[in-house]
């Protein structure tokens, strides 16, 4: 790393001091002996997870411990190397990249070559529409906001067009590249903020303990790519701030290019990125004013002190990139993606209203570690989950103190230390039913300052001169491994953490061969665009890979009633007529399946028809005995019925 900054006696001098203080790496050399252990153990961890997943598909109980051994083999050696081995910068980069890729492999091993996340199927449909039409903004009934943020879908479509790979393969390659970018861009950004700069390596590793990192941010979803681009944007702008002249201008231009890409890729990430840039600008301005005031109070009224001022060019993006960001977000939001407000606002409001009700003792909130159907996590997982949160909360004050008091600490370090306090506040959302989703998704952003501050806290503790070095190493490794495991527990459910034979009461989407065959048949043989009704999981698959028009409940149509009522009489005929439902998808595995995810068809289905613990076989198979229904598809578990004759 090299920084060429002239000293002008103003903020640039501060930047120079920041840059100088940050150069603490022992060397740039890459020695295999230093990275061999974490790399080989990470590889072994991936193999363990692949084996554990294969066992899980056959219902072997030993698969879960083996899976945990696998993920810890990826994380613990990397942690030990980054914290307790004197390594070079290149070695730190290699360890971080290997760890990031190995954790991405965990997601890929779940269902190799397939999309298995609910959000992935929603975005598949947007890419499919884009490729079929060649134009933007085709309607996607599964996620109407998705076509208005087509960044990830456009890159995927270009890769599909250029290489001939399928959408799924192109998407998995793109998100793999995004994972690499996320890791390295975060490292490079924190390296330019932290003092000592080597603090960036454990901070980046701690970011991987975020509940969203293992699965959610590995999904083929717009947030996964947008986070990578946003971090790269912040890195480019921070590098530009530490440069000057035309190099600074050119790097700012690269930052602006990345900012525009984020704006068209993901709504929340673009809002948070622009808010961060504005806050960063305000902090820099305030810091400049504060230093001038201090200089005056100390009586240093020499010419240099009076001239100590913040130049526009020294601000992030030289001042113009944050302005461009605000304008771009507003223009996109008001002229293209107006639907975003209607999409996000109800989710945000319901979460905050629920928090307010809990605070005022009017609501009971959500039971921690319990699914909506009442399935509770094992006691060991609950202990680890709570323990990890307590460890993080305990380390935050140490980190803030370290970052605040250290000499040559950059203003950005202090900014991140304060931003880490958002984490305790975000925990409140976990106690609400609707805020749980927001809280979980926000971790991808909250963990950037949090990981940095916790890493500083760890650094402050291990840099102290204590007697029992081995005990100290063991304690730190155990505590941070607990944080990592707690992140996984918070981000995944024990019943869906590993692949399993498909169960419509558990899985959000089916990824088994039989379901995929049905979706492929509707797309290729039946033809796209037919109006379909089905259960939540199978219907999503038919609506995305199957290219059908999924009918959902509205004021005049209750899909839950159509499927859950015992017979097929006038009310059901009215639903079919009003919903113009041409086909129904029936998954016979629903009979006898306990809805551990809380529902089979829709979240409010029990208000329409309370079916007890499981849906009966007679109810599930009711279309099979309807004389006028055409059974057009039968693969054993999955049947498709045409209803055209039932409702003339």
């Amino acid at each position: 790393m090299s920084h060429e900054i002239d000293r002008h006696g103003d903020m640039r001098g501060d930047l120079r001091a920041e840059a100088d203080a940050g150069i603490r790496w022992v060397s740039e050399a890459l020695r295999w002996t230093h990275v061999m252990v974490p790399v080989l153990l990470a590889t072994l961890g991936v193999v363990c997870i692949g084996y554990a997943d294969a066992l899980a598909l056959h219902g072997t109980p030993a698969s879960a411990p083996l899976w945990w051994v696998g993920v810890l083999l990826i994380f613990v050696p990397a942690l030990t190397t980054l914290l307790f081995v004197t390594i070079s910068r290149s070695e730190a980069v290699v360890v971080l990249l290997v760890t990031g890729l190995a954790l991405y492999a965990v997601k890929l091993l779940y269902a190799p070559g397939r999309l298995w996340g609910f959000d992935e199927l929603l975005h598949f449909r947007t890419v499919d529409n884009l490729i079929a039409a060649g134009h933007l903004f085709s309607y996607n009934a599964l996620l109407p906001v998705s076509p208005y943020y087509p960044g990830m879908e456009t890159v995927t479509a270009v890769i599909v067009r250029l290489t001939g790979l399928s959408i799924v393969q192109s998407g998995l390659v793109l998100i793999g590249v995004a994972r690499l970018l996320t890791v390295i861009a975060l490292f490079l950004l924190l390296e330019r903020i932290a003092t000592p700069s080597k603090l960036a390596a454990p901070a980046t590793l701690l970011y991987m303990t975020s509940p969203a990192f293992l699965y959610f941010d590995s999904m083929f979803s717009y947030e996964s790519l947008a986070i990578a681009l946003a971090l790269a944007c912040l890195f480019a702008l921070r590098t530009a701030q530490l440069e000057e002249g035309r190099r600074r201008d050119r790097l700012n231009a690269v930052g602006a290019l990345l900012l525009l890409a984020v704006v068209v890729t993901h709504h929340v990430t673009s809002f948070i990125l622009v808010a961060t840039l504005v806050a960063w600008t305000v902090v820099d301005l305030a810091h400049g004013r504060l230093r001038r005031k201090k200089a005056r109070e100390c009586g240093r009224l020499d010419a240099r002190a009076r001239k100590r001022r913040v130049y526009l060019g020294d601000l992030p993006g030289s001042g113009w990139v944050p302005v461009l960001g605000v304008v771009a977000v507003l223009v996109w939001l008001t002229n293209v993606a107006e639907i975003t407000v209607a999409y996000l606002w109800p989710q945000l409001m319901s979460g905050f209203i629920e928090v307010a009700r809990i605070i005022s003792f009017e609501g009971t909130g959500r039971q921690l570690f319990q699914s909506t159907a009442g399935h509770t996590a094992p006691p060991a997982e609950r202990i680890v989950g709570i323990g990890s949160v307590l460890i993080i909360l305990a380390l935050i004050p140490f980190g803030i103190r370290y970052l605040w008091e250290r000499r040559h600490t950059s203003v950005l370090s202090r900014f991140l230390a304060v931003a880490a306090l958002v984490y305790p506040a975000s925990l409140a959302l976990r106690f609400t039913k609707s805020g749980w989703d927001i809280g979980s998704r926000a971790t991808a952003f909250i963990y950037v300052p949090l990981a940095f501050t916790v890493a500083a806290g760890i650094e402050s503790l291990i840099s102290r001169d204590v007697k029992y070095v081995r005990l100290r190493v063991l304690t730190v490794v155990l505590a941070l491994s607990l944080v990592f495991a707690g992140g996984i527990i918070a981000g995944t459910s024990p019943i869906t953490r590993q692949p399993a034979p498909y169960d419509p009461g558990v899985a959000e989407v089916p990824y088994d061969t039989e379901s995929l065959a049905a979706a492929g048949w509707t797309a290729n043989t039946l033809g796209p665009g037919n109006r379909f009704a089905g259960d939540s999981a199978g219907g999503t698959l038919i609506g995305s890979i199957g290219r059908q028009q999924l009918v959902t409940s509205d004021a005049t149509v209750s899909v839950s009633t159509l499927f859950l009522s015992p017979g097929f009489n006038t009310p059901e005929q009215t639903i079919v007529r009003n919903g113009r439902i041409a086909y129904v998808l029936v998954d016979r595995r629903i009979a006898g399946s306990e809805p551990l995810k809380g529902f089979i068809y829709e979240r409010w289905e029990r208000q329409a028809w309370d079916y007890g613990s499981t849906v009966s076989s007679e109810t599930v198979n009711k279309f099979d005995v309807l004389r006028d229904a055409s059974k057009v598809y039968d693969s054993g578990n999955i049947q498709i019925f045409g209803l055209q004759r039932l409702v003339p």
Partner: protein, 253 residues
């Protein structure tokens, strides 16, 4: 490597990739991947970085990060621009647009202070052999990992059960019905397909269905068919382990 050589090398790489993708219609998938992915995810940003950092002051990780991320940004914005034109987002349009932007950035980089001896394709300072070896191994490992894991069933398989499908669809005019049998993932077996209408046997035949194969039959409606009963098809496993599949298709609506 001098700036000029780096610019020339990237220009040649871009031109070769573009030529292959434009003119080798239906070429090998592997070659399309080798040329297509760098053109979308690396070369435009790399050309931009040759313009942004001609002195090569930034290190290897910085170059990688900014090259790849700005390539994705360029591909995103260019792709969206193409999709907004009447022509739409076609393969040839994407290749031409990405190539033009890359060459434009290279032109800008090439015309900047050519007397400086600085730039490089990938910054390699010390331990160049180690770095090159590591880079090659890492690239090979990443490629192998991603390709293996993106091929369905390459490592673990989500296949459950024996999937045999029977389907039936009437044509739009209601004058014929198509019956199809697919063996998606079951062991190869002999099946008996029976088609009846109103209790009358229309067709009965034995099928050999190896894994991954399908048979489709079209049955024309005859005068003997009644409108008060559907066409029923049953697919029975002669070996007896796969349950019978059955479809029933009404010819009138």
């Amino acid at each position: 490597m001098s700036q000029t050589r780096a610019v020339l090398l990237v220009a040649i790489g871009t031109a070769v990739a573009a030529a292959f993708l434009l003119f080798a219609n239906g070429g090998s998938l592997w070659l399309r991947i080798v040329f297509g992915i760098p053109l979308a995810l690396f070369l435009p940003g790399h050309a931009l970085m040759l313009f942004v950092d001609p002195e090569g002051r930034l290190g290897g990780p910085e170059w990688f990060t900014l090259s790849v991320s700005s390539s994705i940004a360029v591909t995103t914005l260019l792709g969206m621009a193409l999709a907004s034109t009447p022509m739409g987002l076609t393969a040839n349009a994407a290749v031409v647009a990405l190539t033009l932007v890359t060459l434009l950035a290279l032109f800008a980089a090439g015309t900047r202070t050519a007397t400086l001896s600085f730039g490089r394709l990938m910054p390699i300072r010390r331990n160049s052999i180690q770095r090159a070896t590591f880079g090659a191994l890492a690239l090979a490992a990443c490629t192998l990992l991603v390709l293996l894991l993106t091929i369905p069933g390459a490592v673990t398989s989500s296949t459950t059960g024996q999937v045999v499908v029977l389907w039936g669809l009437r044509n739009e005019s209601g004058t014929a019905v198509r019956i199809g049998a697919n063996n998606v993932s079951a062991e190869p077996r002999s099946y008996r397909l029976t088609i009846t209408q109103g209790g009358r046997l229309i067709s009965e035949q034995d099928l050999e269905l190896p894994r991954g194969t399908s048979h489709v039959f079209e049955v024309e409606k005859s005068a003997t068919w009644t409108d008060s009963a559907p066409v029923v098809a049953d697919l029975a496993d002669v070996g007896g382990t796969v349950p019978t599949r059955s479809v029933s298709v009404w010819m009138t609506q």
